[in-house]
C-alpha cells in the first residue's frame, strides 16, 4: 500500500500478529502487543504521535487490519533531496517501521544527523 502526499497507510493485526515475515522478518514486540493492536484502528493519530510522527490534519489515514492470509507492507513516500540517489542508497534510508507505517522516511540530511 503506497503512501502519497494525500494518504498515509499503517498496518496492524488486531486479532493476533499477522505480519509479512517473508519480507520484513519477525515482527517487533510492540507490533504484537495489546497497546498497538487495540489502538491502531481507533486512534491512529495518537499511535503515530507516540512514534514521533505527526501528520497534517487533512491527510487521509488508511489502516489495514490483517485479518486474512493477505499480508500488507507500506511503500513509504520518497523524501525530498533524494534525486539522483541509487537504489542501495535509498534502501539505506528506509526503516522497518516506515514499512509498517509508524515511521516516515527522512531526508538524507536528517538521517546523518541522527
Amino acid at each position: 500500500v503506497e503512501n502519497t502526499p494525500k494518504v498515509h497507510n499503517m498496518v496492524v493485526c488486531t486479532l493476533c500478529s499477522c505480519y509479512p515475515w517473508a519480507v520484513l522478518g519477525l515482527p517487533p514486540v510492540w507490533y504484537k502487543s495489546a497497546p498497538y493492536r487495540s489502538r491502531a484502528v481507533i486512534d491512529p493519530r495518537g499511535v503515530l504521535k507516540e512514534f514521533g510522527v505527526t501528520l497534517p490534519e487533512d491527510l487521509e489515514i488508511r489502516i489495514w487490519d490483517s485479518t486474512s492470509e493477505v499480508r500488507y507492507m507500506v511503500l513509504p513516500e520518497r523524501p525530498p533531496g533524494t534525486e539522483g540517489m541509487s537504489e542501495a542508497e535509498l534502501a539505506g534510508l528506509v526503516t522497518r517501521d516506515a514499512m509498517i507505517g509508524t515511521d516516515l522516511v527522512k531526508p538524507p540530511a536528517a538521517e546523518t544527523r541522527r
Partner: protein, 230 residues
C-alpha cells in the same frame, strides 16, 4: 469467539513500548518455543486456523499478563494434548527436564510412524517454499468491487476473523483477493468452504462515530460469509 485477543478499539492497554535495536528473540526459550511451534505445524495434525483458535482459548487474564511467545507455547501445548501427541503429564515431565540437552526425554514414546516430520536438513527449503491458504477453486464472488456491504452480526464461540469492532457495519468492497479457505470452519476441522475474501473499506466514522477521523478509513479483509448486501 469474543475473546480478549480481539483487541481492536479497546482502551486502557497503556503506551506503546518500543525498543531500539530489538533482538529477534529476548530469551533462548522464545527461540525454542517459536521453532517448536513452526516445526510441529508440519506434523500435519492441525492447520493455521486451529493454531490461532488454540491461542485464543488461553484464559483472558492469563493472556493479558503473558508475552507473545507464552501465548504460542500455551496454544502449542493445547494442540499437542488435544491431538493426543502428548499427555499433560508428559508435557509436565519434559518441562521439568527442559534444561537437559535437546534429544529424546527419558520415557518418551516412539513417534507414531504415520506422523509426518520436518527434519532439520529440510527446514530452510520448506520454509522458503510457498504455502498459502489460497484455493485454486472456481467459486463465484458474491460481491463486486465498489459494492456496498454490511457485515453480519455474529457471535460464534469458535474461531472467526470478523473482529467485534466491525460487526453490523457498512462498508464498500475495495478489492477482491480471490478464493481462500474460510477460517471459521477450517479452524473447526469442518468443510473449509472456499470462498472469496475481499478488502472491505470502512470509514472511521462508521466504526467509531464522532471519535473517528473525518477522512480516515479502515480496510479489513473479510470473507463472503461475513457479508450481506447493504
Amino acid at each position: 469467539m469474543n475473546g480478549v485477543h480481539d483487541m481492536g478499539g479497546m482502551h486502557g492497554m497503556g503506551p506503546i513500548v518500543t525498543e531500539k535495536n530489538e533482538p529477534v528473540f529476548h530469551h533462548e526459550w522464545e527461540r525454542r518455543a517459536f521453532a517448536m511451534a513452526v516445526a510441529t505445524g508440519f506434523l500435519g495434525k492441525w492447520n493455521i486456523d486451529m493454531s490461532r483458535y488454540a491461542r485464543e482459548q488461553m484464559p483472558p487474564a492469563e493472556y493479558l499478563a503473558t508475552s507473545y511467545y507464552e501465548h504460542w507455547l500455551w496454544g502449542l501445548e493445547k494442540l499437542l494434548e488435544d491431538t493426543g501427541l502428548l499427555t499433560r503429564a508428559e508435557i509436565d515431565a519434559r518441562l521439568r527436564g527442559a534444561d537437559r540437552p535437546a534429544g529424546a526425554a527419558p520415557g518418551a514414546r516412539p513417534i507414531p510412524q504415520e506422523v509426518r516430520m520436518l527434519k532439520a536438513p529440510d527446514v530452510e527449503r520448506v520454509l522458503r517454499s510457498r504455502r498459502t491458504a489460497r484455493v485454486d477453486a472456481d467459486v463465484a464472488p458474491r460481491f463486486k468491487v465498489g459494492e456496498a456491504v454490511v457485515t453480519r452480526t455474529i457471535n460464534p464461540t469458535g474461531h472467526t476473523r470478523l473482529p467485534r469492532y466491525a460487526r453490523g457495519k457498512r462498508g464498500v468492497i475495495a478489492e477482491d483477493h480471490g478464493v481462500w479457505v474460510f477460517p471459521d470452519t477450517h479452524a473447526a476441522e469442518q468443510d473449509p468452504k472456499p470462498q472469496h475474501c475481499y478488502s472491505v473499506r470502512f470509514t472511521a466514522r462508521e466504526l467509531w462515530g464522532a471519535q473517528g477521523g473525518p477522512d480516515d478509513q479502515i480496510y479489513i479483509d473479510l470473507f463472503d460469509d461475513y457479508l450481506d448486501p447493504a
